[in-house]
């Protein structure tokens, strides 16, 4: 087995850990605040990796998980959120130059899928689908025990599947994507629009309105809040019907904050999925479950990526 370093460039925290000889527990780990909008991002990244680098041992590879968009084949970060310093930044090249070892990169959703398959809820499944429902919606797929990365490294961008060509505007500038119906901001936007046209609710359309507030109102019986989750779940069900017809997995794993809202989202989701799936065989013995690894998914995924790439060299 090899020694690898895993790095997770998260929205709030930057984490690194060193795994010696395939061991489960890291020999060293470090976590600092990401501070994406402050200067010195790359320097902080170098220092964090250096802090876990083994003193008397070599490292075979470094794996890095980062929010996209990015190109896993070229190792270039395209436009990480809030971080202008690292726009179009050749991350793997720069890190490889500095540390003298091969560096591998992929986006957080793909690596969460990879880590759930290798270490979490998806263990033992040859065909896994992972969806994170949060501020955005991201996806990842394992097909025949391999991560689907795609020719341009843009596979399984499942938040940007068109569900209704005449649907709402998505953050990416196109219309009717899953993300424009079922993400956190989409749920908030729907509530605001309904308040504007006079729908009665206990909620206020102030700038701080959040999916969590809407979920709390729904649990107290607010009809608008309930309908907002009904709608999100309905469209999520249509999207997942499409994903099953495409990938036919044996397990579907949900991560992300919005998918923590339980029945509010998942009851209408299941109803819609059953209504829209064109062949009920897809649902036979299909496991639908939550991600098992939580905050560690990125780090574990970065580790799995490094080990996977080393094995395929």
């Amino acid at each position: 087995m090899n020694n690898v370093i895993a790095v997770d460039i998260g929205g709030t925290h930057l984490r690194a850990a060193c795994y010696l000889n395939g061991q489960t527990k890291p020999s060293a780990q470090n976590r600092i605040r990401t501070l994406a909008d402050q200067p010195g991002s790359f320097k902080r990244l170098l220092e964090t990796i250096e802090s876990v680098f083994p003193k008397n041992d070599s490292v075979s590879a470094i794996g890095v998980a980062s929010p996209g968009p990015l190109n896993p084949h070229s190792g270039v970060l395209i436009s990480p959120p809030n971080n202008k310093e690292l726009h179009n930044f050749p991350l793997t090249e720069k890190l490889a130059e500095h540390f003298g070892v091969p560096v591998f990169l992929d986006n957080d959703a793909n690596l969460a899928c990879l880590s759930e398959w290798k270490f979490g809820a998806g263990q033992g499944h040859a065909n896994v689908l992972y969806l994170t429902v949060s501020t955005g919606i991201g996806g990842g797929a394992i097909v025949n025990n391999q991560l689907l990365q795609g020719f341009h490294g843009l596979g399984a961008e499942l938040g940007h599947i068109i569900i209704d060509p005449n649907g709402p505007l998505c953050g990416c500038g196109k219309h009717g994507h899953l993300e424009s119906f079922s993400s956190g901001p989409a749920i908030v936007r729907y509530v605001r629009e309904q308040i504007e046209v006079g729908t009665k609710t206990t909620l206020l359309s102030d700038p701080s309105l959040s999916p969590l507030q809407i979920a709390e109102a729904a649990l107290k019986g607010d009809a608008l809040a309930i309908s907002a989750f009904d709608r999100a779940g309905y469209y999520l069900g249509i999207a997942v019907a499409n994903f099953l017809a495409s990938f036919d997995p044996s397990i579907l794993i949900f991560g992300g904050g919005v998918s923590q809202t339980g029945d509010l989202l998942f009851k209408p989701f299941h109803k819609s999925l059953k209504e829209h799936i064109f062949d009920l065989h897809y649902l036979e013995n299909l496991i639908i479950t939550k991600a098992a690894l939580g905050d560690d998914a990125g780090l574990y995924g970065a580790r799995a990526l490094a080990e996977m790439k080393l094995n395929s060299i």
Copy 2:
């Protein structure tokens, strides 16, 4: 290398061929009419395979391509078109029993994809997407140099992806599938509906109205006929935008009769694809082309399936 027999249960013809020791040319081949609606289907199948079976040599496996729905894992034909005799028929089990060799089965669209990847337009590509646009719309995908079959053997059923949840009724009983917008019968249905509401055209809404007649009228300038292909291409573009975001292939291969109509379908298709793809990187160096193997795709795919399964045992 192994000796394998390939069988293609086509709509009109039943074909079998024997390939000795990995050779390109068959040592024997036979082709008879399928006559799916006439008794004796399985007997005809046995006789056709027997007629190509080598006299003085053993066979390692038999591969079979058949129209779906079917289960490639259990080897059961579920409901092949027009053939009640073979409904819920354990085909691979029955053939294995008779010939004493392992038998492998998959649907014609998956195997056309596999054959185009191994012998046709998709050679050398690790990620291939195949679409057949005809009476129905079928799909197949190669991901990381492996055929995507899926947990239930229902992967890449791309004709039944929902493009618009409020769209037309599909042959499968659900609404707004790609097949309900862009297949041959969908094009004919649209023209009929438009004639009914008084749209002017040179076409007659008689029972024999065909996609070919509509294509001919479009080439002569008939506005309704042109709009029918515009519409089919528009929705095909939306669907393919979704498929690229899911699979991110390096090549997209079109088979099937409707995809032979050239610019009539593909001009509006390309326009719509560019309009709907959420990241233009997907289109960089993406090859969009026609299937290379024509009528032989099923037979070659059945051969490739048998060889693939033998290699993975």
